[in-house]
């Protein structure tokens, strides 16, 4: 190298460069021959796009000029510089990649960058980006090849929502949506929890722009290792193995709430747990679940709970296998109470299948009925055979360890006299 690089090396293997105190993009998961193929699952707008072109940079003076240009770009505060090793057709030894993320990156800009890929002049390339005097990203090779990589804009806000011990980081650039998330999941924020999943949230003023009907039902399917999730009001993709995904929605709490329910139901199914349509209440250190469809009395029984009881949820119970026992966790998924549960957990003592009657009584339930009713009340989003099998094994194991009874009740507080250890 006959010049000093205008940035510092952070990581040699997948070398990351940084200018000043500009935050780096987390691209550690890009490995292999081509960044685009191995990039994280991101929303198309947030997806890095690489364009490779040959630029006349063999002369040291030209390289210098190029670096000066890149430095000019670096004057912008959201610049970040990256570099990584990857083979090129000319077997160049190393590539230095210099990038500038831009939140204004549009598909138009990307196309402009792409169409200029054959340019012999780097300046032309830079000028393609209109009023913003820098490319979204430049990949600069010290041999003679220069590529342009349009990097995703970094999302400013990260909200770590931990439910049932599974931390999902929601990333957004919208200050408004950030506030919505904080308000909705306030009791479930845990920045110290190990991150299991990460979703980039792309906010649209109207729900979807691909002609999808707004009242389209939930659709969840697995395609080539990716979960594709959608409803009239949102669209999402998620790679379970990488724990990365994105969701496109308007700035409302309901879409993200449904997304989280779906995601948690799929994660739990792999870990011997399930989400159940049930209220759950902790009393004397044990959790009692009250399961039923809408109108069965989940919210009613929650309202009637004695003062020494703690509500985990009046709508969606989070059930996970522990070492010996099944554990119920509090969830922010609220029903008619419109109030999130407490963020605590307790071993499950019993599940009551709710029924309304003129007087209160508890009855035994056959094993088959217990399995049938719990399967019926489990949150299922995908018509996926592996998922059905996993949930079946989880529910049958649960029934072999936790008592399930029928609770027919008349809605006053005396029903709680029947709910005991």
């Amino acid at each position: 190298m006959d010049h000093e690089l205008p940035f510092s090396v952070i990581d040699d293997d997948f070398a990351r460069f940084q200018v000043g105190n500009v935050p780096t993009v987390h691209f550690n998961d890009i490995t292999g021959p081509h960044p685009r193929q191995h990039a994280r699952t991101r929303h198309p707008e947030l997806h890095p796009t690489e364009v490779v072109g040959d630029f006349d940079c063999q002369q040291a003076s030209r390289r210098s000029a190029l670096i000066q240009q890149l430095l000019h770009v670096a004057a912008y505060d959201n610049l970040l510089l990256l570099a990584r090793q990857f083979p090129t057709p000319t077997s160049a030894p190393a590539s230095a990649m210099v990038s500038k993320t831009s939140s204004e990156a549009s598909s138009g800009q990307r196309r402009a960058a792409h169409s200029g890929s054959q340019s012999r002049n780097c300046r032309e390339e830079v000028n393609h980006n209109g009023p913003n005097p820098g490319p979204d990203c430049l990949l600069y090779n010290l041999d003679k090849r220069v590529s342009i990589l349009v990097l995703a804009p970094e999302l400013r806000f990260v909200v770590p929502v931990e439910i049932g011990g599974v931390a999902v980081h929601l990333r957004t650039d919208s200050a408004e949506f950030h506030q919505i998330l904080l308000a909705r999941y306030g009791g479930f924020l845990n920045p110290d929890a190990r991150k299991r999943l990460e979703f980039d949230v792309v906010i649209r003023s109207s729900a979807l722009d691909d002609g999808t009907s707004a009242d389209e039902d939930v659709n969840v399917r697995l395609s080539q290792g990716k979960w594709l999730l959608s409803r009239g009001d949102f669209r999402a993709e998620w790679e379970m193995t990488k724990g990365l995904g994105w969701v496109q929605q308007s700035a409302n709490p309901y879409s993200i709430d449904t997304l989280l329910r779906i995601v948690h139901s799929l994660v739990l199914a792999q870990e011997g747990g399930f989400l159940l349509h049930a209220a759950s209440v902790v009393r004397h250190g044990r959790a009692f679940l009250f399961s039923g469809i809408s109108g069965a009395g989940k919210t009613t029984i929650s309202r009637l709970a004695p003062h020494d009881a703690t509500l985990l949820t009046d709508e969606i119970s989070y059930v996970r296998r522990g070492a010996n026992l099944y554990q119920a966790y509090g969830t922010p998924f609220a029903g008619e109470l419109a109030k999130p549960g407490e963020n605590i957990s307790a071993p499950i003592e019993c599940v009551y299948l709710l029924d309304k009657d003129s007087h209160n009584h508890v009855e035994p339930v056959t094993t088959v009925d217990a399995v049938r009713m719990l399967m019926r009340n489990t949150l299922f989003f995908a018509d996926d055979r592996e998922l059905v099998k996993n949930v079946f094994y989880a529910v049958t194991d649960f029934v072999s360890r936790v008592p399930v009874r029928r609770l027919a009740f008349y809605p006053d507080e005396r029903v709680w006299e029947l709910v005991r250890l």
């Binding site: 299922f380 055979r385 099998k389 094994y393 049958t396």
Partner: protein
Amino acid sequence: MNSKYIARSSAIAARPLGGEMMIMSARDSTLFSLNEVATAIWEAADGTTPLADIVVLRVCAKFEIDPETAYADAEEFVSNLAQHGILLVSDQPIESQEEL
């Protein structure tokens, strides 16, 4: 009597529970519970043992049922499960199976 062979579908999940065999079709989420006799037939459904042999060895040898009644019951049970796709029935031995 024609030979009949039966094999468990791979598109199911099964688990013994409370003295019964719980079986769920992964195709349509239908739930079945089999009693002791049905479970014995289910467990012997290896695709290569003729149903008649299964009835003699697994049913008549263990439960007090006369062979003719047992075979008639077994046939009905087998065709019932086959209709829901959780058991495969063939007049040839069933070597392997595709996901249904």
